[in-house]
Every structure is written in structure tokens, then in C-alpha cells.
Amino acid sequence: MAVDAQVRPGGASALPVRSPVREFAGRYAANPIAVVALAVLASIAVIAVTASWIAPQNPYDLSAIDIRDGRLPPGSAKLTREAAIGLGIVVPDVRRAELQFEVRARNRSDDAPAQALEVRVAPAADGGLALHLTPAANGPLDPLKSVQLRGLPRGSTVSAGRKDRFRNVWRLDPEELPGLSIALPAAASDRLQFDVLATGGAQRHLMTYWLGTDDQGRDMLSAIFYGLRISLSVAIASVVIALGIGTLAGLCAAYFGGRVDAVLMRIVDVQLSFPTILVALILLAILGKGVFNVMLALVIVQWALYARTARGVALAERQKEYVEAASCLGLGAGRIILAHILPNCTPSLIVIATLEVAHAISLEATLSFLGLGLPVTQPSLGLLIANGFDYLLSGYPWISVFPGVALLITVVAINLVGDELRDLLNPRLQR
């Protein structure tokens, strides 16, 4: 065993004045993996906070998603749907008919209406009717896909059209639209009424589903962004609450000792002897699911760990002279605990709290996956994965793979950062 007597190049001796924060940052930066993890974690945090602005789609706005886009593989395009126009045309007198008008339409609700179709009706030489349907170039109906005439009097014939075998519907060939004529039966009345149905329009590319869509036609990338936000906020909120409660309990146990200590620590011991997943499972099996219940379960599961850690560190701190000095000054227990002992316990607590955020995210995801966690109105990553489970076996793996990857990246990044913090703050590993 070699005796470690390394002198760090550029260490404290080279720069006599160096703040502890910069010193710490410098040591952190020495580990490239931890730096990358921190960068990833920061990006994830930004994504979670800004999800509603940067997500390509609001995945829970029912007007934004289209169920016909369901289960599209990653990289598929979201296209505009075809425009469709239905017109009811009334010609009061076939022999003197001179009608001309244009129809405006739009492909999407947020487009401005544009000229789509020009309709001209004139009497034809043989007593029939000439119908000119001209789709506007580059209009919402261009290129024209189908045109139908419905409700013509029985016995009529339409040039360049095919009649449906059963219904009174004429399908027209879009190529031969100009110069279309309708031959009417002799017995037909002067008044003519029929409908024109036209569909068409360029399929404009609206967005790309980079990670595919789920069964509802929801963009997975957007769903993951929103899911990250929910997962992270539930986890962080529960960690903060548990940290507060646990630290306070641990500090009190250490400071007062005796019976308070014995009772608190026995509860902590019993609780920590059960795996967290089991305690959370029992609680939620009893309480039922819901955001509040999940957070309650996460807090109950975690507080004991902080209590034990805080007590351990505080016990060591309590022996130190500065605490004795503080009590000699006549300061109250509350002030000594919070203002003197607590600041010296923070490094260990920060490390544990960081790692516990990862744990809480995983736990919440697991509970949500089991159907005991968040309700479907709060779709965290765990719920997204659960939704995709059914489709995994039937050939749509991306629905549960990508949320899982997002979950994994988040948890790994937090763990790497937490591990590095622990190594840096652990005096036993310092050389």
C-alpha cells in the first residue's frame, strides 16, 4: 500500500486565494463524465420547465391531436388533411340559368380562407345544363382529388362521369371537368337542385413526429416533454418536503437524545427495514391513487433516510466546541439546531437528496406503471410507458421505448451527478 502524498498540480499552493466554491467547481470539472451528466441534467430541467413552449404539440389539447395519426412510427410526417367542399346549387329555371360564383375555403382552422372553386352554370344547347367547375390554382382544393354530383333528377346523364351502381351519385373525372354538361330527362321540371362535393388540396407538411405517435395520435416527443415536467415536479416536491421533515426529526433526535432519540430512531429503523417500493405499494394500495397520495407515499418513504443521516452527522457535530460555545452564550435549542448544527450537516444531506430525486422519479414511475400512482390526467413518464405496454407486443415498440429512454437518461444523469458530489464531499476518499 503506497502512502498517498500527492500534491495536486495547480492546487491551493499555486493560487493562495481561492474561494471554496471555485475550488469545489474546479474539482468537479476534473471529472468529464460528471460534467456531461450535469449538462444533460440541466437540459432536462430546462425542457421540463419550458415544456409547454418548446413541445411541438400540446399533447393534451384534443383539438391539436388527430386520432387518424395514431401509432405512426418515428419520423412520420403530420400532414394537412384534404379540404372538402359541399355545395347545394339551386337553379330556378334551367333554360335561363346563368349562375356564377366562387367558393372560398381553408385547409386548417388557423389558415385564412382562400379562393377554392369557381362555379359557373349556363343553359346548354340541347336543353341541358353546362356546368363549369374550375378549382383555383394553388387554392385549398388544388390538386382536385374527387368531385361528385348528388341529387340530380332520376334519368339525368352527366358527361365525363360515372354513376354509382346503387345510389344517385355521379363521380366525375377531375381531368375532364371543363366543359361538363348535364343532360336532363324530358320530364324534369324547370327548377333544378343538386349538390356538388369536391375534395382535394396539397398535403402540406405540418410537423414531423420524430419519436412517433401513441395510439391517440399524440406526438410522443411532446408527451415526453410534458411527462418529464410532471415526473420531475412530483419527485422534487416530495424530496423537498421529506428532506425538511426528516432533517428536523434527525436534528431533534441528535440534539435532545434520550427518549426522543430512541422513539424516533426505532420508527426509522423499522421503516428502513422495509424496501421503499413495498412501503409505497402498501400505502397506495390502501389510500388509492392520486397526485396527493403519491407525494404522501414518497414523503413517508423518504423521510426516515434523511432523519437517520441528519442524526448521524449532527451527533458528531454536537460534540464539537462551537456547539458548546453556542450553548454557553445562552442560545436556545432551536437556534443552535437550525443556525449552528444544520449548516454543518448540509453537505451529506445534499448528496442524499440529489440521489433521492432519482429514486423518487423511478419510484413514482413504477407506481404509475402498476396503476397505483398518478391518475391519467397527470401523465408522467411511468404512465406513458404503461400505455405503450399493450402495444409493445403488437409491433409498436416506440410508444413505451422512448419514454423509458427519457426516464433512464434522467435517472442516470442525476445518479452520476450525485455520485460525484458524494465522492467530492466525502472526506474519507479525499487524498
Binding site: 500500500m1 423499522v270 427495514s273 422495509f274 424496501p275 417500493i277 413495498l278 405499494l281 402498501i282 400505502l283 397506495l284 394500495a285 390502501i286 389510500l287 388509492g288 432519482a358 423511478s362 414511475a365 413504477t366 406503471f369 402498476l370 396503476g371 397505483l372 411511468g382 410507458i385 405496454f389 409493445l392 407486443l393 409491433g395 415498440p397 413505451s400 421505448v401 423509458g404 426516464l407 433512464l408 435517472v411 442516470v412 445518479n415 452520476l416 455520485d419
Partner: protein, 326 residues
């Protein structure tokens, strides 16, 4: 020693009593199973008959007394859904869970201890770094998603192993298990692997940390200074002391495996206790939930008790510390 065991036993009994009371309060105060069990066409009369049949019209304290007296007789009520004794339902599912846990535990220990020893003794070699790098993913990966990916890769993409269920059973030496058949092994492999991976990474990390710590201790330095072969130092001085810690680890493992088997069983449709509790929670089958919780609490407390006692037998310092408290 006897005093210590008696004290731990009393403590365990106290915990069980507190837990059963908590479970009762939680389960019987919240949720109404009648809504779930009665069909939507049922009229008020059917509804009331159901309530009377299940004893839910009685005041809460009366329900609790009935529950307690039945509990002491080992009767935890009948499942609402299966109309079979709840305890029997839970106990029937135990062998499947234990079978899964046993296979997973063997897998985890057989790979975790050697890898942990290696990385602990050679923390700076590339292989050790690779193992530790992989293990951080292993610790981070959510168990249920890992299961989904195992199914996706091995059952859907390559179609090597079945995606769920328990295989053919056979009875050898009075033990009925799926481990006696090839089909059974094919079915148990994937869920057991899923359970084992997480525990294996935990074992690697625990053994590694322990070995690193022990390797720095004076007696190891002394053994080396004495000129003992590295092999002897590793396998006698370090491994022996690591194994002491491993007893606790195995105890915790067993508990962790039983707890995590809930997740694995749900993913792989393995007919154990874990799947039963999740299914029962969905339909609010309260007697089964209560029976499961009590069985699991008793199991855990027994495991912890055995581990504590074993530990105090092996390491006398613990006993001294416990006595010192009083």
C-alpha cells in the same frame, strides 16, 4: 443472547400488531368495494344485500373486532372476487413467488460477488471501470421498463423466450415447481433475470465498497507486510470479512426481491403474490389486500429478525452494543 432474541421477538410482534391496525384503518375507512362488485344493473336491494353479506353495514369498531378475532383464528375473510378464503389465495401464490426469488437470488449472488470483489480490488483497471459504468445504468434503470425491454428484445424481436406466465409444473420429492421442467425454466429465466439484474448491481456496489474499505485496514496491510501471497490475503483476509456483511446483504436481498417481484410479476404475468395484490387493488378486493399485507409484513419481520440474530451470532460486537443501551 436469549434476552436479545426475546426482545427482538417482542418488538416484531408489536410491529405486526401496529401494522394490522394501520392496514385495517386504511383499508376499511377508504374505498367501497360494493361499487365494484355489484353489477351496474343492480338495484338498491341487491346493493344492500351485498353490503349485509360483506358485513359492511356494521359500525367500524365492530368490523375491526370481527376482523381481529378472525385474524387470530387465521381467517382473513373471503375474497370478494373469488369467494375463497383470502389467506388461502395468498398462500397458494407464495410458491410461485419464492421460486422466482430463489432463481433470481442465485443469479445475482453468482455474478455479483465475483464482479464486486474484482472491482473492489482493482478499482482503476478499464474492466473495473466498465463494470462500474454499466452498474450505474443497472441501478438507474427502472425495473419495470427493463422488463419491458427484455420482453421486447428476447420475446418479440428474437422470439427466443416466452413473454410471460409460468411454465409446466412437475412434482419431485414432494415439491411442486416449474423448475423441474424445461418449459418451466424457459418461463422463469426472463423474469428472474429481470429481478436479478437490479440486485446484482447492488451486490457489486456493496461488495466493492466493502472490499475497498477492508483493503485499507491495518490488518490487511499487516498481512501484506508479513509477505503473504496476494491470493491468500484476498481470499482469506478480505473475502472472509466481506462475507460477514454479505449475510445482511442476502437478508436485505431476499426482502428486496420479494418486494420487487410485485413489479416483475406484473410485467411478466407471473402468477405470484405480487400479481395477486395488484389485481386485487384494481378491483378493491379488500380481504385479499389485507391478507397480502399481513403475510408480507410477517415475512419481512421474520427475515429481519433472522438476519439480526444471525448477525449478532457472527459479530458479537452488535450484541454488546444492544446490551449497552440498557
Amino acid at each position: 443472547m436469549t434476552l436479545y432474541i426475546v426482545r427482538r421477538l417482542l418488538q416484531s410482534v408489536l410491529v405486526i400488531v401496529v401494522m394490522t391496525a394501520l392496514v385495517f384503518v386504511g383499508v376499511y375507512v377508504i374505498g367501497n368495494p360494493v361499487d365494484v362488485l355489484v353489477s351496474t344493473e343492480a338495484d338498491q336491494e341487491d346493493f344492500e344485500r351485498m353490503v349485509r353479506m360483506l358485513g359492511l353495514d356494521q359500525p367500524l369498531w365492530k368490523q375491526f373486532l370481527v376482523y381481529l378475532s378472525q385474524l387470530l383464528q387465521g381467517d382473513l375473510g373471503r375474497s370478494f372476487a373469488f369467494s375463497e378464503p383470502a389467506l388461502k389465495l395468498v398462500l397458494q401464490r407464495i410458491p410461485a413467488t419464492l421460486e422466482l426469488v430463489a432463481v433470481a437470488m442465485t443469479m445475482a449472488l453468482a455474478t455479483g460477488i465475483p464482479l464486486g470483489m474484482y472491482t473492489g480490488l482493482n478499482p482503476h483497471t478499464p474492466i473495473a471501470r466498465l463494470i462500474m459504468g454499466t452498474s450505474i445504468v443497472g441501478v438507474s434503470i427502472p425495473n419495470f421498463w427493463q422488463g419491458l425491454m427484455l420482453i421486447f428484445v428476447l420475446s418479440v424481436s428474437f422470439a427466443i423466450l416466452p413473454s410471460g406466465g409460468r411454465g409446466e409444473l412437475d412434482t419431485v420429492l414432494g415439491i411442486t415447481s416449474s423448475l423441474w421442467t424445461l418449459d418451466g425454466w424457459q418461463h422463469v429465466f426472463l423474469p428472474a433475470l429481470n429481478l436479478a439484474l437490479f440486485q446484482c448491481t447492488l451486490i457489486i456496489r456493496l461488495v466493492r465498497a466493502n472490499v475497498r474499505e477492508i483493503a485499507l485496514l491495518d490488518y490487511v496491510r499487516f498481512a501484506r507486510a508479513k509477505g503473504l501471497a496476494r491470493r491468500r490475503v484476498v481470499f482469506v483476509h478480505i473475502l472472509k470479512n466481506t462475507l460477514v456483511v454479505l449475510i445482511t446483504v442476502v437478508g436485505l436481498q431476499l426482502g428486496g426481491l420479494i418486494a420487487y417481484s410485485v413489479v416483475t410479476e406484473t410485467v411478466f404475468a407471473w402468477p405470484g403474490m405480487g400479481k395477486l395484490i395488484i389485481d386485487s387493488v384494481y378491483i378493491l378486493d379488500r380481504p385479499v389486500i389485507v391478507a397480502y399485507l399481513i403475510v408480507i409484513v410477517v415475512m419481512f419481520i421474520t427475515i429481519n429478525l433472522v438476519v439480526d440474530i444471525l448477525y449478532s451470532v457472527i459479530d458479537p460486537r452488535i450484541r454488546v452494543a444492544q446490551r449497552g443501551e440498557h
